[in-house]
């Protein structure tokens, strides 16, 4: 399955990867190769097969509605690139 450059640009944007032209070109080629390998899957007939999402096929455990977390804001925010008055800062978002 050969990808076109514009497809790769769209994918890069969806994934928020700001790749330059060289990267886009290189990626278009290698992605097309990988997709070629992946297309081998189509040879198998899976019409009657149920997908397997989780190997153990168990059900979700439920947890009681009790508060178990406490405030560690100061510790966690030492990891943040930009913080003010307890808020994480990002460039202004306009709706």
């Amino acid at each position: 399955m050969a990808l076109k450059r514009c497809d790769v640009e769209k994918l890069a944007y969806l994934a928020r990867l700001g790749m330059d032209d060289t990267q886009i070109d290189n990626t278009t080629a290698s992605l097309s190769d990988v997709l070629g390998m992946i297309d081998a899957m189509q040879a198998v007939n899976t019409d009657t097969i149920e997908p397997l999402a989780n190997p153990l096929e168990a059900n979700q455990r439920l947890r009681p509605d009790t508060v178990t977390e406490s405030n560690h804001r100061d510790d966690y925010q030492t990891l943040a690139p930009a913080v003010e008055n307890g808020l994480y800062l990002v460039p202004k978002v306009i709706d």
């Binding site: 994934a15 990267q23 992605l31 997709l35 070629g36 397997l52 190997p55």
Partner: protein, 483 residues
Amino acid sequence: MHQLTLANISKALAAKQFSARELTSHLLSRIEQLDPQLNSFITVSKESALQQATAADELRSSGINAPLLGLPIAHKDLFCTEGVRTSCASKTLDNFIAPYTATVVDKLNTAGFISLGKLNMDEFAMGSSGETSFYGPSKNPWDTQRIPGGSSSGSAVAVAARLIPVSTGSDSGGSIRQPAAFTGLTGIKPTYGRISRWGMTAYASSLDQAGFLAHNAEDCAMLLQATAGFDERDSTSSQQPVDDYAATLTQPLKGLRIGLPKEYFSSDLDSRIGDVVNNSIEQLKQLGATFVEISLPSLPHAVPAYYVIASAEASTNLARFDGVRFGHRCADPKNLEDLYLRSRDEAFGKEVKRRIMIGTYALSTGYYDAYYLKAQKIRRLIKNDFVSAFKDVDLILGPTTPNLPWLLGSKTNDPVAAYLEDIYTVPANLAGIPGLSMPAGMIDGLPVGVQLLAPYFQEARLLQVAHQFQQHTDWHARTPAGF
């Protein structure tokens, strides 16, 4: 001291043949001396390791003689370790000091283990060679021109070079078993859900499992015993009771039926590796096992299915790395778009970006059915193959890898070729069954591993067979020259 297995170190410490501090100190100086040529460590925790060692010795002299007290270990750098950098070998987290500790590490700490540091790996566990690391590749101590395998590259190298006796690793498509095979180690990937994933940076959530690299099955058993079990913080953690792995190690193999998938022995397999596998079959026959040919017909589709599922899950698992709350942020972002686009472009390496894009593609509208859904159906077929085979046999045996470890740089421009090397290991992750690789021969001075696969939650059986094999062979005891 550095030649001792974990089990023997435990006995030696108990018998006061040397102290934890002496051992730790010795290993730290070996790391300092030898790791520059190997690049297996990202972070060495010298101060804290010595402190922990001293504390362990004090506990021991006050009469507490826990079997795992004072044992040295190091952790793959995707396990969160509170207060210590946890980088996942990525620029994204180069500055990330983990605010909490992964369950598997916590259990080992509580048992008395001393962590000497964090080990190199492929970036975000994406790779089979160690070459995608932001900190540069680790080198195979058996031939430093060659890859040690990945993604648990540093975990394998540090143990193989006897810088530490054991390490933690993770395996989503073979990332413990393949480097174990390439470096002459015993590596175990338990059943999916056997060990908690809490604190283990997610790559492919439905495939990831924590595991170990050691010199032998006995050491793997000790580590598995200390870490297996239900964790309420991980919804995918299993409540299956934990076996006594040591108890069954010494059971004889008489009556054991082992399956040999005919699909394994194709022209893609290096015939010399085929010979090593055959030798190991002979050895196991002598120990009482019988062999039967079986079929895993969906095997040819395992690699594509794996790469679709793993990439799809990884593409969303890595979306949290956006430079907002932690991790790398680009300088002077002009607006929100710029923040995301530039931070992520700067932070991720080539292979990571490639897999994120594959994953994004596989999930996108119009392609979901043909790719992601299709891969999940093939996954069902692969599980069915194993369930069916295990009706007939107790274990499955085969090569761990189709080829020997390749030269550094030789496959970096051919991702597909690299992906196809995972043919024997990915099926176990897709199905969730446990797998182990043990050293079974040498070719041109390079180790060769043989893989065992077992039904769900039968790690004990894997360890038993490997242990018995290791009582009668010495491949696992060899050391690369100079280490």
